[in-house]
Amino acid sequence: MAFGHPGWQLESNPFPSASVALSPLSDSGQLSYYFDFYEWRDTGRVAYIDAQGRVQVFQLASGPTMTFLISGPTGCGRSSLENLILFELAQRSGEPLVVSQRLSLSAQDNFTRGTMLVQDLEDAVRQRSQAVADTILSTFSRWQQLTPPGVQPDITNLLARIRRNIEQGLPGAPIVVSFDALDHSIGHDTGLEALEMVQGFADVAILSVTIPDHASFVRSRFSSRQRPVAWINAPRIQESAFRQYLERRMGAERAAGSTPPHATYPLSDEAISTLFAPAEGSGPVELSIRLAIQKLAGALAYKERAMATSPTMSPQLDAEDVRRSFARQ
């Protein structure tokens, strides 16, 4: 069984997860698809992915909430990185209770955000323990009853009570709150406020943002308050890094006993360069990892079809093959 044309000497598809985020928690085999093109801004806390797909430096703060900031545009591996962090956390502290919340303009205040978070957490807990989930519900109801009408509800107090419920009912299960602050319509303070709200409640808080400046803003605020924070930027990838990635992937999927002419075969150097070729008058090209893989997968599919009509054609993809495939995607 081989992938694509037999002449490609590939055992299986080198890019099976081009359109979805990698998730080693559900399939640890996906660790091998990770490639370190991330920019680790706090290497003392978290840094680098090794050849096995594991994070080399992963220092969780004991006690206070550890905050991870992940920045980058769509398709650059933000979600894959978040899943890798969850995987590393599970390896060290047990399977985490994960609550994800998308920050939006409609739910701006901490009360709305906090109560939504508790409801989602209760759902996550119920999958593990009905009793603990019920306790959370009754804590929530009591908290509501104890809040006098017209008084600003104390969401921090509620979260502290819920945390105690979990510590007692599910000891050792780390609480992870992940905020998606990608929506451009929310203000730049929103992510910061959301993270502040879960300080002391969550073991790990993750904030995903699009623009590095926003992550930098939160990081500087947190650093000045002595809060443990680590920022990782997921940039668009450049040709040199992608070439290394291809060498790794092609090598991993190479058919046993095959002797390819070069490491990225069937992709020629020119084919890879064409993938990153700038338009006339433009500077160096950077593509999201997802887009680069999709374009490459498209080129492979194109070549496979072209070879079906012209069997004498060389199996190697050259620049022209890639160019032609661009026009058809």
Binding site: F3, H5, S106, R290
Partner: protein, 780 residues
């Protein structure tokens, strides 16, 4: 034997007060010589956009036509399709610049702003995908569909990233970021499903409840103390949005004298400088119009910011232009004696509004018999042509005095609106009268006013209140409408010397009657009054319609006459522009040789604007747009994989070269006005029809085939008509550039279709580019 009644005096042709309102009913515009200097600046701005944005100051007294000029400039800017400019206008009614800002933004709906945001995002998205060969085909789709949805769905582009980048760009355009940050954020919220409308309201300076802390406080007020500074920064950020979207923006501020307080001329000057500079930096053209008295005290350091370092004078009609203006309002053989026109011009100082007001008074003085007018009449008319508002105030003052003298109670129960002021006068006996003081600026306004008075009468009738009305008309007044109003009221035309006695007479007549009994009037009276009112309203409606038509006709006549008057100037300008177009075609040719697509685009855009502005050659416009299509295909060539790109490249280059030659011919030998005219086509068609019909008839007569005379005639007629129709349609088609240059168009289409058609892998089947290609059957 009947005695013939004297013919009624013709209605006054001139408005008592000529007012131009921005955005008012679109009428014809007369291009007067003073307008061309500013127009040239506008066209240059649009041609060279976004390289240089001028600020223009217009100076002219009240009534010189500043608003008229601004309206015309706005129209010119939007007429030039190749430029795609947007215009925002505000009249500054108060020293608070925030009001002007609100007024400016009210020119843009939320949808308008969303379109600009969309254009800005589209440009950013396009530039991103076009920068890489891998995504150029996505750029082509964006370009063709005007949408980035497919690129978003494919994750080629990140909508949040584009929005946030746009926000950062807008913030970065202003030195002071406090306001620009908020404006940029609000702009980003415009497309929000729930808060988009509130964001627009906030942006328009109207408040708006937004949940985010940044926009909780309104744009004006709150912590912001200096409203003018906020306005400048807010406008700068909005102008920056237009620049990012590549849309020229014309910002027009009228009556700037209103925001120059005498005690803070320096402060106002500083704001004007900032407006000119900061909006100019964002490639927006600013036009400010004010009176000479407003500009005069401003410090000298203001002027380097404005075009030509001075204010352009507005108005100052020449004697010839004054003659044109007056002539446009006259009917048939009516005309002013040239000496009288000269005198009117002298007395008015060439101020269009005053010219018309003097003419109005002069008409009144001579009852429309213009030949009778003397110099003294005109001088007297100039004196009488004062402010209508002053006269209306005087009428009210006299009314109050009379009420006091006669011990009548007087109060103002309601405001009749912009033109009418209503008073109730009551005698000690309880008898009441209603006095309506109404200002009519012109014939149309008088008709509207009569409609309003009829409305009052109808209301009083419905309420069972049989009070009598005295209608005092100030300004324009005609016998026709007066006689109609007499049916439902006593009417008095305000004349300062006789008004008091006429008013006393009218009030005495009403007050002498016993007070009207309360309760509903008798049904018979009711229906009688109803019928009278209905007749009157119908008559007023007809008068209004006729007067509106007359007003439009006057505008058209003025525009036509002005065009004829400035035709030599037009011809010179057209000739000069044609020369520029020819030179521009040389530049285009050089750009083609150098193979710089962007330069070709730029040169062509400039040529198209020039053509639209001054030459209006349809052929040139059509060919220019074809050239743009050819450039698009050239762009496609670098993206699409084709088997023989060299040949296609040569074809498209050759086609562009030929297009330049055809465009040159179109400029040198345009189709003549004669062949363009419908009557010419009609004459040719009729000529052809007659000849064909005659030939057919002759054939019928002189050939042995039998045909009855009547049938032969009918057949000849039908054939003649068919020939006429055919010839007319053919000439009509021939006039159309799409028909004449159809060959070139088809060639472009053929080249476009040929791109990608020879791809060996192009055949039905699963789309390539799928993320995970399926393994081949051999492999399995």
């Amino acid at each position: 034997m009947t005695v013939s009644e004297p013919a009624p005096a013709p209605e006054n042709r001139f408005p008592a007060k000529a007012v131009s309102t921005y955005g008012g009913p679109a009428r014809c515009f007369a291009e007067l010589s003073y307008m061309h200097g500013v127009e040239a600046i506008l066209v240059d701005y649009l041609k060279n956009y976004p390289q240089a944005a001028p600020a223009v100051a217009l100076s002219g007294g009240h009534g010189t036509g500043k608003t008229y000029l601004l309206t015309w400039l706005g129209k010119r800017a939007t007429e030039l399709r190749s430029a795609g400019a947007r215009v925002i206008y505000a009249k500054t009614d108060s020293p608070n610049l925030a009001d002007a800002y609100r007024s400016l933004i009210s020119n843009l709906t939320r949808r308008d702003l969303l379109e600009v945001v969309h254009a800005a995002l589209l440009r950013r998205g396009l530039s991103r995908v076009q920068a890489a060969a891998a995504t150029q085909s996505d750029g082509e789709i964006i370009d063709q569909t005007g949408s980035m949805e497919a690129a978003y769905a494919e994750k080629v582009l990140d909508p949040n990233e584009l929005h946030l980048e746009l926000r950062q760009t807008l913030q970065g355009r202003s030195v002071a970021t406090a306001v620009s940050q908020k404006i940029a954020y609000a702009i980003g919220l415009l497309d929000h499903a729930h808060y988009g409308e509130a964001a627009y309201d906030w942006l328009a300076g109207q408040g708006g409840a937004l949940p985010d802390e940044t926009l909780k406080a309104p744009l004006f007020g709150g912590e912001q103390v200096d409203g003018s500074q906020v306005v400048v920064e807010a406008l700068e950020t909005i102008a920056a949005l237009f620049q990012v979207a590549n849309i020229p923006l014309l910002v027009m501020l009228d009556q700037v004298e209103n925001f120059i307080p005498p005690d803070d001329v320096k402060g106002a000057s500083s704001v004007m400088k900032k407006l000119a500079e900061q909006l100019g930096e964002q490639a927006a053209m600013v036009v400010m119009a004010g009176t000479p008295a407003a500009w005069e005290p401003l410090p000298r350091d203001l002027w380097p910011r404005f075009q030509n370092r001075k204010a352009f004078p507005v108005g100052n009609l020449t004697v010839d232009e004054t003659s044109l203006l007056l002539g446009a309002y006259l009917v048939g053989s009516e005309r002013f004696n040239p000496e009288i026109v000269g005198l009117i011009n002298d007395l008015s100082g060439g101020n269009a509004r005053e010219v018309l007001q003097i003419a109005h008074e002069a008409w009144e003085a001579c009852n429309g018999d213009l030949d009778r007018l003397t110099g003294d009449d005109i001088r007297q008319a100039a004196k009488a042509a004062g402010s209508l508002d002053d006269r209306a105030n005087l009428a009210q003052q006299i009314l109050n005095d009379v009420a006091q003298e006669r011990k009548l109670s007087i109060w103002r129960p309601e405001d009749g609106g912009g033109t009418t002021r209503v008073w109730t006068v009551e005698a000690s006996s309880g008898t009441r009268a209603v006095v309506v003081v109404a200002v009519a600026t012109d014939a149309r306004a008088e008709s509207l006013l009569a409609g309003e008075v009829a409305g009052f009468a109808r209301r009083y009738q419905a309420e069972g209140d049989a009070r009598e009305m005295i209608v005092v008309t100030v300004g324009y007044s005609s016998e026709h409408v007066q006689s109609l109003l007499t049916g439902i009221s006593r009417t008095i035309v305000f004349r300062e010397h006789s008004f008091k006695s006429e008013l006393i007479g009218g009030l005495e007549a009403i007050m002498a009657a016993p007070p009207a009994a309360a309760g509903p009037p008798a049904r018979a009276t009711d229906s009688e009054v109803e019928r009278k009112l209905a007749d009157m309203e119908r008559a007023i409606g007809e008068i209004l319609k006729a007067r509106e038509e007359a007003q439009t006709k006057a505008s058209e006549t003025l525009a036509r006459n002005a065009e004829a008057f400035v035709s030599s100037e037009h011809r010179q300008r057209e000739a000069k522009t044609k020369l520029q177009l020819r030179e521009g075609l040389d530049d285009l040719s050089h750009a083609l040789t150098r193979e710089t697509l962007e330069e070709e685009r730029h040169v062509l855009r400039s040529l198209l604007i020039d053509n639209e502005a001054y030459v209006k050659n349809d052929d040139f416009d059509y060919l220019g747009n074809m050239y743009l299509d050819a450039l698009d295909i050239q762009g496609l060539l670098s993206i699409q994989a084709v088997s023989d790109p060299h040949t296609i490249y040569n074809r498209i280059t050759d086609l562009r070269s030929r297009l330049i030659a055809v465009m040159r011919r179109a400029i040198t030998t345009p189709s003549s006005q004669l062949t363009n005219s419908v009557s010419f086509r009609g004459i040719i068609s009729v000529g052809a029809a007659v000849s064909t019909a005659a030939a057919f008839y002759a054939m019928g007569v002189f050939t042995p085939f039998y045909m009855a005379q009547i049938e032969l005639m009918l057949a000849s007629l039908v054939i003649g008509l068919l020939t006429a129709g055919f010839i007319f349609l053919y000439i009509e088609l021939l006039m159309r550039p799409s028909f004449r240059f159809g060959g070139l168009r088809r060639e472009i289409d053929r080249i476009r279709n040929s791109i990608g058609a020879d791809d060996p892998a192009r055949r039905p089947g699963p789309e390539v580019g799928e993320p995970s290609p399926a393994p081949s059957s051999e492999g399995r």
